[in-house]
Every structure is written in C-alpha cells, then in structure tokens.
Amino acid sequence: MKLTDPRLEPLSRMNDSVESGWSRALALVRIEGGVRRMLILLAVAFVIFAALRPSIFLSGTNLRNIALNSPEIGVLAIAMMLAMLTGGIDLSLVAMANLSAITMATLFTAMAANDPGQAEQMFPVIVLAGVAVGVLGGAINGLLISGLGITPILATLGTMQIFNGIAVAWTGGKTLYGSPEVLTGIGASTLGGVPTLFCLFVLVAVAIGVVINRTPLGLRIQLQGANPTAALYSGIASRKILMSTYLMTGLLSGIAGVFFIARNPTASADYGASYVLLVIVIAVLGGTNPNGGFATVFGVVLATLTLEIVSSGFTALRLSSYQYAIAQGLILVAAMAAEQIKWRRRRNRKPVLQPT
C-alpha cells in the first residue's frame, strides 16, 4: 500500500499495471488459492493410499476404476458448481440424470423389441432424447426460479421429488436393462489407455470453463452471484441469467445420464442416491463459494478426483462406505476450517485504504 497521492506519481507508474505479455502468460498458469489447496489434497490422498496398499491401489484396474467413476460424478459436480455460482443450488441433478437414463433405456428396449438392428442405428436419437429430458427438467427448474422467483433450494427440492416420483412410477421401482451397444462400447473403450468417458468428462469441463470465463454469459453468471443488486443496476437481466444457468445444469444432468447408461446398461430410479450430497461436497471443496460469485471448474475437477481416490483407497483398505462417508465429511470440514483460518489471518493483517 502506498499512501502517496496518485496525482504526484508519474504516469508511467500507473502503467505498471498495464500487464505485459509476460505477466499475462504467467496469469494463465497462475494457480488460485482454492486450486492449489486441491492439488495438495489430491497429491496427499494419492500418496497416502499408494503407500498403504501399493499392490491394490496402484493396480491398473484400480486406476481405471477411478477414471471410470469420476466422469458422472464430476459432470454433476460441475452442474452443482454452476448453480452455486449464481448463489443458488440444484438438488434435482441426480433425479434428472436418472430420468434421462430411464428414458434412454425405455426407448431402446421399445425399439429393440421391433427391430434390434434399427434400435442400434437409432443410437444418436436415443442419446439426444436422454439429453433433452435433462434440458427439459432444467427448463422447469429455470421457470420456477427465474420466472416465479422461488428460492432455488426449495424449487429444486420440489422438482427432485417430482422427478424421482415420476422415475419410480415409470419403472415400477425396478431396474431397467438395455442400452445401445455403441454406447456401452464407448463406456468400455479407452483412448490411449484413458477411458473414453474420462476424456469426454475433460471435454465437458473445458467447455463449461470456457463458458464461465470467456463469454458474456459466464461473466454475467459470476456477477449475478457476486451481488444480485449491483447486477440489476448494471443492466444484467437476472431472469435470463438464471434461466440459462438452470438450462445448463439440466443439460449436464442429461449428459450425466448418458454416462450412467454408457458405463452400465441399466437404469433405475434410485441410482446414485448418495450423489446429491456428494456433489455439493465436491463443489464446495473445489473452491465454489456457496454464496455465489466465485468458482473454478478446475478446482471442482480436482475435488472430484480427490474424493474418488479416497473412495477407492478406502475400498483398497477394506473400509466400509460408512467410513468413507465420515472421511468425506472430515475432508470438507477440514478444508473449510483451513480456509476460514487463512481468511481470518489475512483480515487481521489487513490494512489499509479503509474508507473513513
């Protein structure tokens, strides 16, 4: 902090702030606090489990399983992050994803009953229908939240119950079997040793990252979440922004539904029941501010991988899923506590240009 008067400074000093090409390049690789924390957590988790059970944890099967489990959870966590970025939340993500998977399984089974060959050929239509169901669910959430102004947590709690109820009534609570072979083929395939689904997940993450950081819509989503009143006075149409956001979370749920069925040619109403809270944990752990305005896709991707590593590590150590749940909670609480302590320290150190 300089207390000197800006008018007394030569103009060149002010131009220090004009970023040079070099510092701009640095800014690209600059790692934000939340992301750095996740990188450390990820490395620590990996090293611990690799040290404790190297034979099981470092096996090809286990690593592939991590890469296969992450995409569906990761895509849902990114969707959760988007909702939180506007200061909202979307509890209906998993229900929409299941509805999407059920739609695809039903469509395929119905088509395959007539002509199995044609059903295989219709695979793109089936996938599109599944994704469309997600988008439709998102549109309903968007209307409730942006049109009627219902608080996101209540609106999506309601739609979660509705979508879940529809899924149970539709399937009769049974698990449906059936998925185009192309899709299950993609689910089982690898690109250069990396599961294709994982590559698709990275693609989705990059796409959402671009939307958030490189488009007018993304900037508006961030600003809307950071301060809705100032957003209003800056001419940001909150309804449009919220609608777009929930359409995107619906779209991502639809994609998660495709991932569900590609990994496992089954669909049921109660698949991934534990995911709803898990993706909230991942989003927040990945540096998303639940009050809105701040999040990074990269942080969320790292948080997804970290929790998957812990999960598979616990399996390798033969610990139960309940113990895994405890670990999830502990990681979240510890990370948040560390954040608070750091923040408090910074505030105590804080200085400076306080308005008088």
Binding site: L3, L11, T215, Y233
Partner: protein, 504 residues
C-alpha cells in the same frame, strides 16, 4: 512548567501521544499526537486513507497501537480495549449508527448500557425513565416508543447520541455525522452539540464537509498520510486552507463550466412525468454536453426521478424523449438500451461487486459490447477498455486484478464511473457522486464529468452538496415535495441561492 491552578481547567479529557500503527509493513499512523479538551469540538480531517479510521479505532479500543500512549483524564494507557474505552467514557457513533431497527427508541437507548453493566434481565419499566431523562435533558423531540426503523436518519442519529450519553460518554466521536442530514437537520444537530459541550462533553467530528465542520468546531486537526500536518483553531482556517493541508494541493471549487455550443441539441426531454406518491409533472430538458444539477431535500423526490429515468421504479404517466423520439422506459434494460447510465446512491450495494476484481467491475455493464460474433468475450478488446479506463480515471490500485473491496471511497467511485464510461452512454446520471469521497478524488471526478460532457454526453448530477453543484453544473433543478420548483441558471447557480431554494 505552569502551576496546577492554571492547568486544571484545561486538563484534556483525552490525549494521544506518538501513536504508531503499522499493518503488515505498511505504516498507517506514524507518530500522531492530539488532545481533546472538555466542552470542545475537535474536527479530524484528512483524505481517505490518511489514517483517520485507524486513529479512531485505536482510541475506541478496536485496534492496538504499536507504540505510543492514550491518556484519559491524566491516566496513561498503552492501548485500549473496547470495554475499557466505554468504561472511560469513550463512545463512537459510526455512520450507520449500529442501532437495532426492530427495537424501540427507548430500548435502543438503554439496552447497550444494560448489557455493558452485565445485567442479564431487561426491565422495560426501569428502562423507560432512564431513556426519558436523557431525552428531556437534551430537550429533544423523540418518540420513545417508535420503532427505530421508522425514524428519519436524523432521529436515528439522535437516538445514537442518547445511547452514548446514557453510558456516561464524555468523549464522543462522530464519524461523518452530517453526511446523511439535510441542511435543517444539520442545524438541529449543531444545537444539540452545543448542549453537549455545555455538559463538558468533548466531541471529535470526522467529516468531509469542511464548511459545516468549521462552523461547529473550535479546533481542527488535519492528518495526511498518517501524520499530523496541522492542529489549529478553526477560526484561523478556511475550507481552502484545510483542503490544502489535507491534500498538499490547491483545491479548486470555483465555478468551471464550458460554454455550450448553440447547435448542441436536446438529448433528453421530460414532459410531465409523474409517479403517484413520488413526484408530479416533472418536465425539463437536457442538452448534449450539458451538466444538469438536481437538488432537493432527502425525500423530495429527486432520487425517485432518477430511478424512474433508469427504469428501477417506472413512471406512470408523461413522456420521455431521447434525441427527440419518445422512448418507453419500464425496466433497467430499457433505460440502458436507450443510452442511459446511472451511478447509484448506494455505491457499495448497488454499484459495485465488492469481492470481484476492478477489471470485472469495469466490464460488468458492457460484456456484449466486447463480444465477438461467436458470443465469446473479445479478450483483447476487454483488456484495452479496462486498461484505458483504469489509467484515464487514475484508479489508485496495484493492478486491475485487485478486488474493489480494497479500494478507498474515491477509487471505488471511479470504478463505478468506469463501468458506465465503458458503455459510452448518451446520458449519465449520478446520484451523490462524491459522497464519502475525499477532496482530491472529488475534484478529479468532477473533472472527468466535465471532460465527458465536453465530448457530448448529457450529464445529470443529483446532489445536496451545493459547492459541488456550483462548481460544475450549467443549470440546477430544485425539487421540493415531488415537484420541480425552480430551474436555476447563470448567476443564480450560487451556493447561497441553492441552499435558500432547497430549504424554502
């Protein structure tokens, strides 16, 4: 040394000596010394960031000094804590008064002292007489049973003063006490201040409004960059000399307006615009390149007129014409599309994204103007706009990635201004553009507005700061009870005329 007999009547209530305070290597105060006598009003003046807030926090115990001493009634303390400060009779009334809006006036007056004396139960019957006594003693008209949220700003302030006195305050520090008050309310406050002085209370005023401060204070202490520059009798100072000491620069508040070229057309025309309960039959024109002042008491309708033009509270009847053609303004996006920008009154909540970077704030109003055909942000254009405005408005910050929260009032206001200039609106309205802004920044902000007007922007300034209106407005509209009662032009745009018309 002088004899005790001579010393006694002038023993200071409070002295601070050689206070040093650093924050992480940054020196906020470097050896500040001042004293406060009983029955005295001392004005503490200085630009934003000069250390006034820090000094007050040290006196009230919210911060501990690195070195130096705080002497209350002749007893030296190396630091204060908040409880100790209150026990020693030190009270601070902050700008927001820190009252409980859902409690009554009487409860607000009594409650904190009850809490401070560690009573665990609250008796309404015992409380009321205590509150009543203090209100009567000061000769105030305050409804003790009214909820505080229903009070005017002035009455809230009086409630806060009473609360301080119930806790036996002898040293009362008031942060910007006149900022939110109208001219008449300020007069009323000053009468109360005189009564407090008669009781032997010492007051420290922190204020930007120099002419008012000079009227009420006996001495003025001026800080600049964490140092005492001058402490002197108010009678020997003028606003001009104070400003000079505060900034180290000459302040120019003289009238400085450009001649409007005769061919510059009307950019905005209002014809009998009305909104039930807010304003009626408002008609005026604004020419390209003109700076139009709008003034009036708080609640006169001046803010509502601006907010209607910006589509926040749409008007009900009347016609708005921009560049000669009627426009429909029913929402903020209508107004922005029509080329209107608005720097709102409440900068912190309405104008800024405090935790976002300066860069994000500057671009917040115009992402579409910086988009490529593929609906992507044109990063090069974005960077150019941000850097150009950052440099041109001379925002004092290490770089454009710094969060706005770290900026002082004057710099934060420049960022709000930059947000609108990035869009290049045809008409820019500013509500209280220099409230809470230090003198140096104030002059610069007015300079920026003059420059924008000279390039053809129509500018409307809503303000109750008469010197500021005189300094830069071609004409001044006076709003009273929701009606435009006067349009001052030429030589009528003078400080005294404006004050007279507003208060009439």
């Amino acid at each position: 040394m002088t004899s005790i007999a001579h010393d006694k009547p002038t023993q200071p209530l409070l002295e601070v000596r050689n206070i040093v305070k650093t924050f992480g290597g940054v020196t906020a105060l470097s050896g500040v010394t001042l004293d406060l006598l009983p029955g005295e009003v001392l004005c503490l003046a200085g630009e934003n960031g000069c250390g006034k807030s820090t000094l007050i926090k040290i006196i009230s115990g919210a911060e501990k000094p690195d070195s130096g001493e705080i002497i209350v009634d002749g007893i030296s303390h190396s630091s204060m804590d908040t409880t100790n400060a209150i026990k020693n009779g030190i009270q601070v009334i902050y700008q927001d008064f820190s009252l409980f809006p859902n409690l009554t006036v009487a409860e607000n007056i009594v409650l904190t002292s009850a809490v401070a004396s560690r009573r665990h139960t609250y008796s309404q019957r015992a409380a009321r007489p205590a509150a009543q006594a203090i209100v009567e003693e000061l000769g105030l008209k305050l409804d003790l049973d009214a909820d505080v949220e229903q009070l005017s700003v002035a009455d809230k302030q009086l409630t806060a003063i009473c609360r301080a006195l119930v806790s036996d305050a002898r040293i009362l520090i008031m942060d910007e006490p006149t900022t939110a008050l109208t001219h008449t309310e300020v007069e009323r406050l000053f009468i109360i201040v005189e009564r407090l002085r008669a009781r032997g209370v010492g007051l420290i005023f922190v204020s930007h409004k120099l002419d008012e401060v000079l009227k009420i204070s006996q001495r003025v202490a001026i800080l600049r960059s964490g140092k005492n520059v001058v402490t002197d009798l108010a009678s020997t100072l003028t606003p001009r000399t104070i400003a000079l000491h505060m900034t180290g620069l000459e302040l120019d508040e003289s009238r400085n307006i450009s001649e409007l070229p005769p061919e510059s057309g009307v950019v905005l025309e209002l014809d009998r615009m009305s909104l039930e309960g807010a304003y009626q039959d408002v008609s005026f024109t604004l020419r390209r390149g003109e700076i139009l002042g709008v003034t009036g008491l708080l609640g006169s309708g001046r803010t509502e007129i601006a907010e209607s033009l910006f589509g926040v509270v749409p008007h009900e009847s009347g016609i708005i014409k921009i560049d000669g053609s009627p426009v429909r303004i029913h929402s903020i996006s209508d107004a922005i599309k029509a080329g209107i920008g608005y720097v709102p009154e409440d900068r912190l909540t309405q104008g800024l994204f405090m935790d976002k970077s300066i860069a994000d704030n500057i671009i917040a109003g115009s992402p579409d103007e910086h988009a490529t055909r593929l609906r992507m942000l044109d990063l090069r254009a974005v960077r150019e706009t941000i850097q150009a405005l950052f440099a041109r408005l001379r925002v004092k910050a290490p770089n454009v990635q710094a969060p706005v929260r770290s900026l002082s009032g004057g710099n934060a206001q420049r960022v709000v201004l930059a947000k609108w200039l990035a869009r290049r609106p045809r008409i820019l309205m500013l509500n209280g553009p220099t409230v809470g802004v230090d003198i140096g920044s104030k002059a610069e902000i007015l300079g920026i507005l003059r420059a924008e007007a000279a390039e053809g922007m129509g500018i409307i300034i809503i303000s109750d700061d008469a010197p500021e209106l005189v300094a830069c407005c071609h004409r001044v509209l006076v709003v009273r009870n929701g009606r435009v009662v006067d349009i001052l032009e030429g030589d009528d745009v003078a400080i005294d005329t404006i004050r007279e018309k507003v208060a009439a």
